[in-house]
Symmetry: C2
Subunit: 121 residues, 2 copies
């Protein structure tokens, strides 16, 4: 029983610390969810869809997702330039689990906000 816990104690190899921590930033999950609902989307479309993300953070977020091969970036050498983003197969496989989480978040949102308000610890 204690053995199951070892993977979380092994700091250097823990999958949560090495993989999931990357999506624990402010924007990655949101970008993945949005790209999961469209075929492709351009940079400024994403910017407008999210509303409250800065240009810089969208760039950083997309580059990180691209590095992990969760999002694919395609540059069309036109004038003006056009760049489109879409999810990769790996990204789609991750999205299945994220949708589970997102659904849970929606279902439990009100109850959680209520608990949060009541809690005066």
């Amino acid at each position: 029983m204690e053995n199951n816990l070892n993977k979380y104690s092994d700091v250097k190899n823990c999958p949560i610390r090495t993989v999931l921590d990357r999506f624990g930033d402010k924007w990655s999950v949101l970008v993945l969810l949005i790209l999961g609902e469209v075929e492709k989307m351009r940079f400024n479309e994403l910017l407008r869809t999210m509303g409250d993300i800065s240009q810089k953070m969208l760039t950083v977020t997309l580059r990180t997702l691209e590095a992990d091969d969760l999002v694919k970036r395609t540059i069309y050498p036109e004038v003006p330039p056009r760049v489109e983003y879409e999810t990769t197969e790996r990204g789609k496989s991750l999205l299945k689990h994220i949708h589970g989480l997102a659904g849970w978040a929606e279902e439990n949102k009100l109850a959680i906000l209520e608990s949060r308000n009541k809690f005066k610890g």
Copy 2:
């Protein structure tokens, strides 16, 4: 189709921003996973199991999880004091989805680290 995206554009009501962002910190998911594998665990046990978390951050993390009613805290008025933590029903329902994510992270860890290394953007 564009309608599906509205919930992500509605900054104030977006379930990702209001609920999931709380678990996007460095430790919450890990604490939940560990508590999900035992019945109860004491403060210092958690500290030792995780290995690289500070006392302060474990306290902060547990309080946040408690406020959202994902973890229950029980104080036994003994000397020396004993405090035990366990997952609530709501915490268990969240854990089902987190296990999906954790499994994905384990399965894809090596491939992702490889992608990350190859990426020189």
